[in-house]
Each structure stands twice: as C-alpha cells, then as structure tokens.
Symmetry: C2
Subunit: 335 residues, 2 copies
Amino acid sequence: MKLHEIGEFGYIDRIAKRFEDMSSPGFLGIGDDCAIIPCNDSEDYVITTDLLIEDIHFLKDRITPVELGHKALAVNLSDIAAMGAKPVGSFLSVGIPAETKVEYLDDVMLGYHNLSRKYNVPLLGGDTTKSKEYLTINVGVVGKCLKGSARLRSMAQEDDVVCVTGFLGDSSGGLEVLLHQLPETKDNLHLVRCHHLPEPHVNEGLWLAKHSVIHAMIDVSDGISSDLLHILKASRKSALIDIDKIPVSETLRKVALSQDWDLERLITAGGEDYVLLVTLEANSFKEINTGYKAAFGKDLYQIGNIIAGESCIKWIRNNDEIVLHQIGFNHFNKA
Amino acid sequence: MKLHEIGEFGYIDRIAKRFEDMSSPGFLGIGDDCAIIPCNDSEDYVITTDLLIEDIHFLKDRITPVELGHKALAVNLSDIAAMGAKPVGSFLSVGIPAETKVEYLDDVMLGYHNLSRKYNVPLLGGDTTKSKEYLTINVGVVGKCLKGSARLRSMAQEDDVVCVTGFLGDSSGGLEVLLHQLPETKDNLHLVRCHHLPEPHVNEGLWLAKHSVIHAMIDVSDGISSDLLHILKASRKSALIDIDKIPVSETLRKVALSQDWDLERLITAGGEDYVLLVTLEANSFKEINTGYKAAFGKDLYQIGNIIAGESCIKWIRNNDEIVLHQIGFNHFNKA
C-alpha cells in the first residue's frame, strides 16, 4: 500500500492505534499539539517535536541559515503556545552533510539562539550526526503549564466563537514568491519574511490560557481548513466560518491581486502562519478582546462559530454558504 | 572551516558555549547522556534524543524494518539506562521517502512497539513528514528517577573500579560482517543480531542506581575509548584499563580469529554495544557484584580503575602499559 492512499493523518492514526494498549495515568499521548506529562501537584509538562528536512521543508539557497535556525525552533514554540504553556527547554538533533561549513552551522545556531533568548528557553541537549545529502533538523521543546490548564483540541463547545491571533495566508504568499522567484520588492520580501521568520504566539497563548472561557486552541501550521478540522474532530463539533472575516494583511491582498493568486485558497488552506486558532465562550468575547487588545495592541479576529454536527466546516462568503474543496497541507498527498 | 577540523565533540562544545548564557535552576543541560528537568520534590525527569539517517546509521537492505524500529528506540532507552532512570514515554519523528510502502513502516512500528511494551514505554507523540530520499528517524525518550539519583559522567572518583555490564565488540563485529558481506553462518548472524537488536540495559541501570556506591555511568555507544573519555573529562580523572579484562564473547573471539580482525580495536574503539560503563567504590565491588549476579545472572565485568590525572586512558596489556591510537566513533572524522 502506498502512503498517499492513507495520507499523513491516516498514517498517524495507524500508529496511534498500535499504541492504544499502553497508557499512563496523567499522561496525554498522540493527538494534540503537545503531549502532556505530569509534573507535580500543580503543574504539567507539555512536549512537542518537529522534523525539518532540506528540500522538503526548506530550500538551502532560499532561506538564510539564521532564518532556518529561527524557524526550526519557532514552529515548536508555536505548538507549546497552542497548549497555553511556557517553553522551558529545547532539544536539537542535526544531521549534517559532510561538505557543510562550520560557519553555516554557526549561523543556524545564531538564529536558534536569538529566538531561544527571546523566550528564555535554554538548549538542554540533542544529537549531532552526519547526513548523506540533506541537512536534517529535529527540534523538541518542553513547556510547563498549570495542571489541567493545557488547552486541548477536544475542548471546543457549541456556540463558541472561533478566533485567530493574526493574519492568515502571508506565509504561503511568501512561499509563492519563493517558488516563482518573484522580484525582491518590499511587499514580496515582507511575505517571504513571514514564511521564513514566523513569530510564535507564545505570550498570546499564555495570556489566553489564563482565562477559563478560552476553550480549544491549536496553532495554524497546515492551514485553517486542516487545523480547524483537528479541533472539530477531537471536539465532535462543526464550525461555520465566514471567509470575509478572515484577517488578511494589506500586503498579501495587494500582491495576490497583482499576481492573480487565489487569495481564498491561501487564507483557508495555506499553512505555516503559526498564529493561534482559538475557540471561546461567545458572550465573553468582547471582554476577552478588550483585555487582549490592551495586552498585545491588536485584536483577536473572530472568524466564525462552533456549531453542532460531526466535524464539518461550513464556509460563508458574501453571506452565502459555499463549498470549498481545498484541504490543508498533508505530507503524503499525491504530488 | 570544515566540520572534520573540529570534530563532532568540538562542534557540540561550540553549541554548548553559545548557550552558556542561559540556564534554569534544577535543570541539567548539554553534556551528559540525558538532560535533567526537575519534576517534583522527590523526582526528576531525564530526556534524551537520537537521530538515525538511512545510509549513515543503517542500510535499508541489511537491517529489517522490525530491527530498525527496535534499534531506533533501544539506543535512546540505553541513554535513559545510563542515567539510572526509568523510561516513561517516547517521541518519534519520521521523515519518509515517497516510495516507501506502508507495510514497511508498519514493520518498523512493530519493532518499535515490541520494545516499547517490554519496558512499558508509551509512544506519546512525534512528527511524520516526507523525506526527499533517505528514511530519517528521530526518537526522544523521557525517563524518571529519584531527585538527585541520576548518574552523571562527572561523578567518577579516584580509586573507583571501572566496570561494564556486558561484552564489548560484538556490535562492531556485526558491522564488519555486514560491510564485508560475510556468509550467513550462525556466528556471523549472532554478531549481526548484536548490531541490529541491541538490548538496552534499562533494568541493570535502575538496579545499579539504587546503590550509592555506584558513581558515574555512561552507555557504550561510540566505543569505550571514547565513552570512558567523556567520564574522565567530566570527572577530571584518568583511568587505567586492562585490555585483557575486557569481556569478549566466544563468538567474537572465534570470528575475529578466523577473519584476522584486529580484536583489540573492536573491543576498545568499536561502538554500539549499548552496555553500561560504570565506576564504583572499589571496596564495595564484591558485594555489589554478588547482588548484581543474583539479580541478572551475570557478572559486572571489572576492567580497570579510576586514577588521578587529567582525562587520559592508560591501557595495560599482558601487565605492560601500552599506547593505543584508536579513538572511538566520531561523526565528523575525515573519511
């Protein structure tokens, strides 16, 4: 059987099923942004890990080593943020092709270290090995949160509003710029920067998790059509999303128009924005948003609602319900 | 600058130096078999991670997928064992080339699952992505131990005896069999089995860590000449090792003789045996060994002593001190 026949998530389900016979009290395993490991009476640890491989996740001649180091850590910090936890340490495994210069690796570590310092996350360990051909980076991050406060995908409730903590589509716009080698205009470079230097919403996640009216959280890594579906499946709910309410940067709007890009596809199915997708009690939205705005100088963007139903996203455009066929990123889609 | 100019451990020192400006109380970072993360008043967590890349760490046409799954987890459990900790959960990242069959991956997970069950270590999370060409596996394992009981490389004391918990050289003998495609005799297959299906000394590590006379521990992954040196550097001691006392299996002795292998090189510099290298109070050795033998039906093999001096191994053969030039495995040695 070929992998694309079952897809990335089918394969993960297959692994999870095999391990159903093993579990430990207080532990949460496969199926959320992070696993949970009990710490003490008042705290839990959360752990996530992400693998980046050259020519799959990045092109060495398009991303600078400093950006690569930043991004490798950022995507993991984003998973910690999605649990509402505080990152406390990271682990880095690197597989290095023989011809790689030490100076290149130093720059990777410079980007990694800069972001580590920003969120005060020490590097605690890892592994360094040779790689045959492709630079390979696996990062793991450990976070900490109050016991029971981690936000799970399964926590969405009917009538919750669905919000995101930032613009969608900029990162996949940046990828389009790179893939089509568009000229280095200010706008194009901004989008590429969003793709290469995503800012994990660690502080936003910590702030949100302090409020009990915040229910489910996930980070947008594969596009909301895919990531929201994870919440809906885990929570056994559906959602109504108003495409016109999805926050889009002026830059993306402008470049998409000039390049004749399918903007709707970029903002619903484009991945790697690493903003948080959050569901919260509808009648608390206004109060939460006021506090959030005071803390971060920006709005929580309300894009829809959780409704009853079995794991389906209903999309609204111009007040009409429409059917979208695009799906988010999946590593084993047929090319 | 090229990587082989500074070597694997020079590169790790370079990374560790960059992160010297960050640390957290109760945490132990880079520099031991595992990092330590404080848990509660009476316990600590330890964490390790290892990256395996096709054609660097394994050849897909020589190792079966079931063996590969076993080995990927075993090498990490061995690091947990070297801390004297109990493994409590694992994380698995896999980078998968497009043409890989689901059945192959199922077999990898079968081997991984079998070993997970043996030591009751649930799989808690991970990442699955595409890989361009080489199957790539990163495993992380979390273990738990009594606070302050983790055995560090820095704990060796002068006059300690140095012991190992099993035969050395069998695994690198197995690698020789594979590389030279020797015939599938019973003896050759046994050595290959030692190379592909190492048994992590988890229970041995747990038993040893219960005794305060056990000082430093490390697992033998790169060969004792390299791994013992890690203990000596961290403890600022030297060691006197009697080559004639290194335990060698009858099988390896026989095959090495018939193939004219340099047996001394295999047992001092050959890696991947994943036995534990332990230092303990000399006058407790007899009592410890009696208890160890009762628990495991085998001896602790005493191979030498810790002596004063700055991080140097003195080798004895036939009661004469000799100089050995071989060094253990290092990923960035010049080919």
